[in-house]
Subunit: 329 residues, 2 copies
């Protein structure tokens, strides 16, 4: 593969080049990983910075309709918008390129938009790396907004929160029942909670849900990286467009404030460091697991620890010592 040419294509904002580049970073093959590293290095051009917008919402909250309407609003305002899906469950439908594009028909055809369907890879470390790297490529390709979407299966919401500049949680009216309830760990990551479907007969219910979540958010301690009043809860309607512009204003206000206060770069730096350290840990564990004996012993010890037969520290010491010996150290 001609990596310099591919990088040029990405930097020129060519969709086909971007699509091929993302396919490359999604690959787990060792030679592809080496090429991906070269590609990412070639694409790391200073000054290209998108707003990375994380969006989480369970099926049924109207996420596709929201992305279609919200994305079209941005595109109509002259912004270039990339949409990346992070959905480990999409393997069930085979990655569904068709599914991702047909559920956002207008946006998929808009010249200023690029929709990348979910990859079929399910390993979480893989998802995190692929997502980070695909976001970088979209930035290199000159997109203004990269919308990273998740249905929140497993840890994927945490991954999305950890690559976002601004993290938005989309809900439907009628909070409080179990299906609708926010998965633990997510409300606290949210910068903005949007209650969708605030239209027609649902307006009052949406407002009640909004007030409930606004109340819950007030019970949480403000983070240093939040201006006064954030996180916020707002009503929107992807169907009739109500509240979408206001939601975008809030996202921009938050992003501008974080930029002005230095939190934007601090947050990105902290995220990058986090992923670096996570990659080192994963790399070391992978090195350990590449030894068949260590792998088998680790499985045995994992069982012994779970059954209370061995203390975690003693079991871990044995694994680490074995690795040192196996590596000839």
């Amino acid at each position: 593969m001609d990596i310099p040419a591919l990088a040029d294509g990405v930097l020129a904002g060519e969709r086909r080049a971007l699509a091929r580049a993302i396919t490359l970073v999604e690959s787990g093959r060792a030679d592809h990983r080496a090429q991906a590293a070269d590609l990412l290095a070639a694409c790391a051009v200073p000054g290209r910075e998108a707003l990375r917008l994380g969006l989480s919402g369970t099926p049924g909250v109207g996420k596709s309709t929201f992305i279609e309407a919200f994305g079209m609003m941005l595109v109509d305002a002259g912004l270039r918008v990339a949409v990346l899906a992070v959905d480990p469950s999409s393997t069930r439908t085979g990655g569904s390129i068709l599914g991702d594009k047909t559920r956002m028909e207008r946006l998929a055809r808009a010249p200023g938009a690029y929709i990348r369907p979910s990859p079929s890879q399910t390993h979480l470390g893989g998802i995190a790396r692929r997502t980070r790297e695909a976001v970088s490529l979209c930035e290199a390709a000159g997109f203004d907004v990269v919308l990273i979407e998740t249905v929140g299966v497993g840890q994927s919401e945490t991954v999305v929160a950890e690559v976002s500049d601004v993290f938005v949680l989309l809900l439907a009216p009628g909070g409080g029942d179990e299906l609708q309830g926010v998965k633990r760990g997510i409300m606290e990551a949210a910068d903005l909670i949007l209650i969708n479907k605030a239209d027609g007969a649902m307006v009052a219910a949406a407002e009640r849900t909004r007030a409930d979540y606004a109340g819950a958010l007030r019970l949480m301690r403000r983070r240093a990286q939040d201006p006064q009043g954030f996180p916020k809860a707002l009503c929107v309607s992807a169907l009739d467009g109500a509240g979408l512009a206001a939601a975008w204003d809030e996202m921009r206000a938050l992003a501008d404030w974080r930029r002005a206060e230095g939190h934007w770069q601090d947050r990105r730096a902290a995220q990058a460091r986090h992923w670096f350290e996570e990659e080192v840990r994963q790399g070391l564990v992978a090195l350990l697991r590449s030894d068949a004996g260590a792998r088998a012993r680790m499985a045995d010890l994992g069982r012994a620890v779970a059954e209370g037969r061995t203390a975690p520290a003693a079991a871990a010491a044995e694994v680490v010592a074995r690795f040192r010996t196996a590596a000839g150290g």
Copy 2:
């Protein structure tokens, strides 16, 4: 040190032996770590299982008064109660053996109770390991309830939640302001939220705070390991004892349900596995950092990654490859 004799002392429930055993597991010295492993193995007697009760509350919510009153209620009911403090900030006051015991005067003198002050060690990995191992030793010594207390500095609340069978969050009336607000990530770990100081002129305020938190809890999705109605928010008064028996009833009801449904053992097994894998990761990273060259390179790469000059995956691959070479693999 005579480890078999020390183990016998712990298993016989002797306080001095328990105190010496906890001091041993708190030590970071390599020879002490080896002895601690032997001690923990010798103390791993099946059938000794305490209720591990995590308790988090910021300064000012009346945590010491609560532990004193709640602990005395349990002791008066014939239960043996151990109290462990997990407080990375206590190094500021030098570990404060005196502080920990004088703030719970009656409980400190009760024959059925054992209060262990915070250790002076601050490293979080160390705190997690020390806490887990101290809890195991208290169980081996025959305590019925091990109360693990944290003021929630840094990640210490997460550590406490990860070693608890039941996790309780203690608050004061007047939620909603920033100082009182719950630190993000904690509400979701709570099985029970207790609003303390529900006495005298504060009863109505406490009830309003309780209702606010009950509302917020209803917005979160129920976990598989929660029976209907949990997590709950209740009012208590450590001062006049109101609600303490009801809170204990709820904790027992939750514990009994989790036992009956198999969640108790599942939770303990998952926690043990988590700590094992965490110890392996920490051990491997420590092995890496023991190489001065790798340590320096990792610091350089960490900066390069934070500044966006290198991608996390590429930087991590370099560190891991270097380690493999350095280890002679």
